[in-house]
Amino acid sequence: MTSSRGLTRLSAHRMGAGLRAGEFSARELLDAHLSLIEAQDGALHAWVSLDFERAREAADRADTTLVAARGVSAAPRDGSTPTLDALPRLLGIPVALKDLVVTRGRPSTAGSRILESFISPYDAHIAERLDAAGAIVPGKTNMDEFAMGSSTEHSAWGPTGNPWALDRVPGGSSGGSAAAVAAYHVPLAIGTDTGGSIRQPAALTGTVGLKPTYGRVSRFGIIAFASSLDQIGPFGRDVRDTAILLGTIAGRDERDSTSAPVAVPDYAGELPSSDDEAAASLRGVRLGLPRQYFVKGMEPGVEARVREAVAALADAGAEIVDVDLPHTDYGLATYYIVAPAEASANLARYDGIRFGRSVRGADVLGNYLATRGGGFGAEVKRRIMLGTYALSAGYYDAYYLKAQKVRTLLKRDFDEAFAQVDALVAPTSPTVAFPLGARLDDPVAMYLSDACTLPVNMAGLPGLSIPCGLSEGLPVGLQLIGRAWDEARLFRLGRAYEAITADAKWRTLEPTDLRALDDPATPGPMERVAIMGR
């Protein structure tokens, strides 16, 4: 008999096996997670809205399905009821949604005051997929407003702590999802990644996060930031779980014309089951090490962990090849033209007329100015201003068009690298988790957090961040970058890395500050920021 807290420590695939075997019910599994959330989220603030009642109803439905399937598996009938083996892998498994995934009848604020009272009249495609698979959604997670940020501090609802050090950021913008998975509040979560917003928080919280190929997952019902870059992806605590979640949400949906009609492999099913088999799969794989990704300002501890990981991959039989991505240094400027330009267009919809916050001014123009001026936070205003400027008459060619041309060069760098190698291996973030408040007043320092991740979005490629050890007691992420549509290879490589480091001591460590989360005297992140003198 596993204890309530013990249940939360299992991987999602182990939870699925336990549910099928009748070791515990979906309701017991959910309640174990909800009691952790209830006890700890005051101090962590990973969540912005919770709906326990609805989650419990969904768990009870999952239990009914499980009982029926168990009956059929014992005594096969007409085939109208699925057997245990035929049930979706996520049946009964808790999954968190980032607060920009709209869900019918429930709040979806994208971390913004302008959507404080917004209730969506429809479900996002991925919310429908998760419901259909029987996954249980306890609530929505905190994020930088409209996904603009690398620390989750730009949320209108206050910051989130990092379970490894509560006075540090969990990364962003999907910081709530990353922190919830790291703190065992859920085994899986959904994030979005426009310049690193899944991979960087995964790295900073010691979790696994994948940014899929642009077009892999339908964005119908995802609150938009930068439409040529945004992509939805999974967080988990291991590669197999992350693969299961991608498999559940990926694929063409005709309501998003940018979702591609490309076949979706059985990502989790194709992973080797034993560590030996996983490790053996590294033999002969050609991995590129892009020298430009060991950037200025990279912490020595981060570089050391990444180079050790590369050495371990080489020892297991992978061939490491130095490659050049010569335009990498131009990625940051290019991204910070393209993304704000697209954001300024996407965020024009918040006009106070059709939905969301509405403040009356003297006339129509006055309504816009008051609604938008008071509804958006400082970082969102900064990006709208940058984007509006870059697209304005007389500057379009110098900024936006120029950036789109450099984007071609960035993409070409990757094309040339992938002519030589099967995948690239690099750091995810140049630093470990930084203290709350440390980069809040310096936008350019914050933007540098994504120097190693945003070129991947510019080229539309998949990138996987997996934990590769600790530096000064904080997690370091290893980034694997693949060819378009090659997520399956990234999962295989990530799984292989897990196998060859299965005995590493750092793998046995839980996040340092989990214990503090259980102490009712531990202040919430908002109060921590105040204590730190901000």
Partner: protein
Amino acid sequence: MPTLSRADVQHVAHLARLGLEGHELDRLEGQLNHILDQYAVLAELSTDDIEPTAQTIELENILREDVARASLTPDDALAGAPARRGDLFEVPPILGG
């Protein structure tokens, strides 16, 4: 690359329909110019013969069959409206007074 004056910042805020306070304009003037300075590196690259990339997957002209199908009901579509009149969004007059 040009730098933004206070008047430029106000002009861009107007284009973006953002009502900003004086202290916000002060901060943005400094921050936007600092960010624009970072863009200057792009001028080093010769891109005369380079085609722009707007999106990275080669999907074009995605069409579906021209058949009517269910969409949001008027009540659902108007559920979040700050003001409605019948099945319409209500807005202040934009012509005359």
